[in-house]
């Protein structure tokens, strides 16, 4: 094994190679970016030899030049969430597209673009931008997120003061086959307010996204993300969420296709009786590598957390899950649950899981489980014996397998839309 110091030096050297001048902006943004660049330079770039990147090679995420990823022909199919009434904010090739977007106005919500706000003094954004990302660098390094804070110039800053009437929808679309895109969003939900933030579509051939979310006392954030179906795309995404007392976070991610996806989530339950539900459904057929790396820290008593991750894999597709529940000694009466499961549709598919619990309180209820298996032969026979053709029976069983993750979405109509997309995908990949 390589000595730690030598590895660190290599990482730092790689980080220095990738560093470039910071973008210009207002004083507070520049300060945050300088801090992030310092973190990036100190931590160094991620390398395959990092324990944290054991199952996923980060090289293609940081190598010079994005790959060529063909634009997907949707064949006339409407994008996800298309039929829902929502405030639309469109990013084309990672750049805000005002012509395609709604006006930045929604009752109960302040919305600013990162590129504009960087020049204004928005104290709530200033206090959050880069701050949660910085907090998220312990206990493990997440250098790609620091890189994002340092260099992202696009994104939205959302402050929710009262529950808005409709979801805020971040829509990503591409026109360029080989571009990089970086977005950095900040969401602050004030006490008692509730908001739904949707993300959907392919951002770019290669993307790096960060969301920093702060939920005040009794605030609720529903985050539902559908990552675009483009086959060759590469992407790293981070969500950092800090929850106050009785705050609730529900975050769901659908990952369909994509050559490489690394979704990291870091949640802090800092106030009593908070609740964090993180869920994901991924389906991959062929060149597909989807990695969910999730860390939930219980820092206060009486909080509840759930991690529910389901992957359906075939033809060499690889699924990764690294999940950890950390329970501080102050966090008595913690209720933590974590399940990661893969359905391997053939012998070429692979699922790598590293579930972890680290508990310092003595009165807690925590469970975790990880399984990988194939379609249950007895269930399949039972369904066929009732006259359901094999392919249809398999599809029902696959959807049933994914259902536990989809069930984490509170809005049944939005969940139904995603379920329909999964069903269509399964129909195409029979």
């Amino acid at each position: 094994m390589m000595p730690r110091a030598k590895l660190k030096a290599q990482k730092q050297a790689r980080a220095a190679e990738l560093a470039r001048p910071l973008p210009t902006g207002g004083a507070w943004v520049t300060k945050a970016r300088e801090g992030a660049l310092a973190r990036w330079s100190d931590m160094g770039a991620p390398l395959k030899r990092d324990e944290y990147w054991k199952f996923t090679d980060p090289r293609s995420l940081i190598d010079a030049g994005a790959p060529d990823a063909d634009l997907l022909d949707m064949g006339g199919e409407a994008p996800v969430f298309d039929s829902f009434d929502r405030l639309k904010l469109v990013f084309t090739d990672g750049v805000f597209d005002p012509a395609a977007s709604d006006a930045l106005a929604l009752d109960g919500v302040e919305i600013e673009l990162l590129q504009d706000a960087a020049k204004a003094d928005l104290h709530w954004a200033r206090d959050l931008f880069g701050a949660l990302e910085a907090r998220g660098q312990s206990p493990v390094d997440r250098p790609l997120a620091s890189f994002n804070t340092a260099y992202a110039t696009q994104g939205v800053l959302i402050r929710v003061t009262a529950t808005p009437a409709k979801p805020i929808s971040l829509i990503y679309q591409r026109s360029d086959t080989g571009a990089d895109a970086m977005l950095h969003h900040v969401i602050r939900v004030e006490a008692g307010a509730e908001v739904t933030v949707l993300e959907n579509g392919p951002l770019a051939a290669r993307s790096n996204t960060v969301i920093e979310a702060e939920l005040a006392e009794g605030a609720t954030l529903h985050h539902i993300r559908s990552q675009g179906r483009d086959h060759a795309r590469l992407g790293a995404a981070h969500i950092f969420a800090q929850l106050g007392a009785a705050a609730q976070l529900k975050s769901f991610t659908l990952t369909v296709n994509g050559a490489l996806t690394r979704n990291e989530a870091q949640v802090w339950l800092d106030g009593a009786d908070g609740s964090a539900h993180l869920a994901g459904a991924s389906v991959g057929d062929g060149a597909f590598h989807a990695d969910d790396t999730v860390f939930v820290a219980h820092n206060a008593p009486g909080c509840e957390s759930r991690q529910v991750y389901k992957k359906v894999l075939r033809h060499g597709a690889v699924g990764v899950f690294q999940g950890k529940i950390l329970v501080d000694r102050l966090a008595q009466k913690t209720d933590g649950y974590q399940i990661s499961q893969a359905l391997l549709l053939d012998e070429d598919a692979q699922f790598l899981a590293k579930p972890e619990l680290e508990i310092y309180a003595d009165d807690v209820k925590c469970s975790h489980g990880s399984t990988s298996g194939e379609i249950d032969a007895t269930q399949l026979y039972y369904m066929r014996a009732r006259g359901i053709p094999e392919n249809e029976a398999k599809m029902l069983l696959v959807l049933a397998f994914l259902a536990e993750a989809l069930d984490e979405i509170a809005d049944l109509d939005l969940a139904g839309d995603l379920r329909d997309r999964l069903e269509a995908w399964l129909q195409r990949h029979k």
Partner: protein, 253 residues
Amino acid sequence: MLNIENLHCELEDDSEVKILKGLSLTINPGEVHAIMGPNGSGKSTLSYVLSGRDGYEVTGGSATLDDADLLDMEPEERAAAGLFLAFQYPVEIPGVGNMTFMRTAVNAQRKARGQEELSAGEFLKVVRAKAKELQIDADMLKRPVNVGFSGGEKKRNEILQMAMLEPKMCILDETDSGLDVDAMKLVSDGVNALRDAGRSFLVITHYQRLLDHIKPDVVHIMSEGRIIKTGGPELALEVEHNGYADLLAEANA
């Protein structure tokens, strides 16, 4: 209706294990046949082989349903042809709603037979009426297939599926196991309601008790993969009183 001739089968993974060893059986339309026999005689295997479960290798003989070769069909084709097996151990399917499951099955069979599919509304109307007769409440219809059902509820759910699918050849594999007296009556009433001149039943059971409720026309005794004796309902009573020992000794004599 169902015609089985000299059927032989063994385990797919172990050809040393022969289970059916020349079984023959003919069931005419409208008849109810019962098969009784000691544990390990191959009764359940017969139901699996007829319905097309993996794991068994048919090495000889034939099984036809109205002259169609059952053994040449996929399980779903057998179902669409009118064969139904009420499972001894109904299978739990988490994540698939009971109602969705039944509607998918009914419509898949209708489609296979070239009939128009039932709309959700039509289906709901029929299933509610039939469920009521079997005392299956709305909650059981909504829950995932057999998940959290008691033993009796699972068996009633099997009969509900049978009623919805309207098969012509019904095989009941130890449908009485795990049922209390009241549940047995309910299940039997459900079966009896389906009896008609065009529908036949093969009732596999250990106990004469069930046959008090579902009165068979013919009773077969099965042992070591073969029918060793065939008679009327009195044969079941004889087993109830004397056990299988005498019959087995007679067959081996």
